[in-house]
Amino acid sequence: MEILVPALLTIITAATPLLFAALGELITEKSGVLNLGVEGMMVMGAIIGFVAVHYSGSAFIAVIASMLAGGVMAAIFALLVLRFHASQVPTGLALTIFGIGLSALIGQSMIGIAYEGIPHVSIPFLSSIPVLGALLFSHDLLVYFSLVMVFAVYYFLNKTRGGLILRAIGDSHDAAHAMGYSVIRVRLLATLFGGAMAGLGGAYLSLAYSPLWVEQMTAGRGWIALALVVFATWRTGRVLLGAYLFGGITILQLHAQALGIGVPAQVMSMLPYLATVLVLVLISRDLGKIKLNAPASLGKAFHASS
């Protein structure tokens, strides 16, 4: 238990940034927009969150700032893709390149500064239950918030009219447009939500997971979040499962050395990336399954015609 509980706790912290980013991208993709710029939005969220907490001292302000940063990045993407009809794949790549560059520029003066990490909330009484207390009731607020968001996203997509409209637009923007729904507006909102969530995921890295700023500290997590959405076949519950699975793999890599497994650190660090490839292969094998679950107009440009 002495090893297991801390290990499980770190799995949760490792999974949370992925969970935020993947939930956001899920909503974006469900509306038919493929934003490959998750990595760029995350890394911007990470630096802006860190800068905000450094100057304000308030974790709350930092979280809001990071979501705004992700949102602004997403707004650039939305402007290009939805207004200027730019193709989604290169625009997403541009967002990532730009985000990595800009975050490095902003973060220049933040290197080497430490932050004590956002406070954990121990729920009185419950957190003192042995094992379970530590596992379930003594996280930072963002962990709980991420789980609330899983439920909120599920409820929105499947139980509300807004969710129905969003899914409809992702399925056929032409049909939705013909019915009088505003494809552009819904996609804009979905993209902004995706950006805010990615920004939050990035902030979780720089505020909680390893509270400091390192250039490119997202290290491909934005891309893994994209892969998680495919792994989840665009279903909310499976996003949760996937995020925790990948959290587990990340932690396995960190703890392997402690457990005395004689594999070089670099090989262990490859694990999350190799696992992503493996997972993509396993899920994508069945083309019919992807076709049935993927939003049919994903990545396709929408041109409003009369």
């Binding site: 009219r161 129905l164 409209i165 899914r167 409809a168 399925d171 056929s172 032409d174 049909a175 939705a176 013909a178 019915m179 009088g180 729904y181 083309l287 019919g288 399954k289 076709k291 049935l292 939003p295 049919a296 009369s306």
Partner: protein, 511 residues
Amino acid sequence: MNEADHLIELKGMTKTFPGVIANENVDLALRPGEVHALLGENGAGKSTLVKMIYGILKPDAGDILFQGQPVIIDSPAHARELGIAMVFQHFSLFDSLSVVENISLGMDKDVPMETLAEEIREISDRYGLPLDPHRYVYTLSVGERQRIEIIRCLLQQPKLLVMDEPTSVLTPQEVQKLFVTLERLADEGMAILYISHKLDEIKALCHHATILRLGKKVAEVNVDDESTSSLAALMMGEDLATIVKQDHGSYGEIRLQVEGLNQPAFDSTGISLDEIHLDVRAGEVVGIAGVAGNGQDELLRALNGEEKCQSHACIMIDGKHVGLLDPNARRKAGMASVPEKRLGHGAVPDMDLVDNAFMTAFHRMGLLARGLINYPKTRQFADKVIEEYSVKTPGSHVPAGSLSGGNLQKFIIGRELHQSPDILIVSQPTWGVDAGAAQTIRQALRELAANGAAVLVISQDLDELMEITDRIGAICGGRLSRFYPTSQMTIEKVGLLMAGVSLEGDSQDAA
């Protein structure tokens, strides 16, 4: 006529698009309980007119009176509020959603799903439109999908129902059922504006007809006073040349032969081909009828080699096995094909006509020289196709996507015909093409056969198949029916084949 009786009245409707006058000074009036036909060829301006009624397009000029009151219909929602509902030719449906979700999206108010499902069941019982509210749309046939649209309209209890070419996707039997429903609605006092270019249907269903030609109203008639041929004359404005068919018995050798072709579905949403047997002789035009989505696309792809067969022997060109050859090798062997979808399948929209001409012709026309593309020669070939098939275009340098549907179809068919193939397989040769060009294309197909080629036409247009084919069969659920001489068939009999029913007591020679 007393104007006050009219449910809706359009006066002087005019709509122009850059370079085209779609509607010019068109009048139209409907009474409650009236089934009114809007008749005209493709491109006559029918769709533009109804889009203005439904608030999708804004008229440049003209007035609309609804129940005697002048109205400006500025959105589909406004049209629905007034009591106007529309069933589109191309359905606005979401494949991954259920029937009830689809209908809910088309409603202006948010009704709880269960209540809505109950209402759907009620309407579907009352008007003979069977439909399970909880099925997913991708599992439904085209006819069932149309029912969703109709039920969606009926749920709003409209006063005017607009139907845009509703029967083009139905079997003749389904058409009969639809007419029963429409007549019942008219009896209950609903006005129905029925858009079509199919004269038999209009004779059978409609009271009045307004005829459009080139954007102008040319006549309004009482349908009972007209014959189909007088309606046709009004619609076309001129008599069209009739197709000359070759006599029976003068066909040559079998050129295309298919023996026991089986093809599993590409994925869970596709159709599998089941024991396809087929042969087409030199000089013969054979037709395959069928409702869309019954395996036509799969059949074309299997025949032209886009999907390879499981054995080499299942497809033969002039007796040679080609089942495992790719499309290019089959082209070398003399087979050409024209897919249903022009943009993106038969042609690349963003490439110019020269590049598009090269696409399927480079081998037979010798457009490659020492591994490099011979562009001057390709341009000559493209220009020749444009000239010979009177494709209207500023030149061969424009992208294929900028041509109108009919002109692009002429170009694609011309590209294949110009290579004088021994076998031509063509799907929906005249879909969306105006009547004049359609006739040119049909004539060209007959001529190709007359010169000794084997021609296979896959089409949803029964009139077309009856007109140009020598033998006809149908495809249903990936299975082919037997084939019968067209001269011994009626539309109704083909309709049965399309529905997968075999003709009873038939001892005719199917060869």
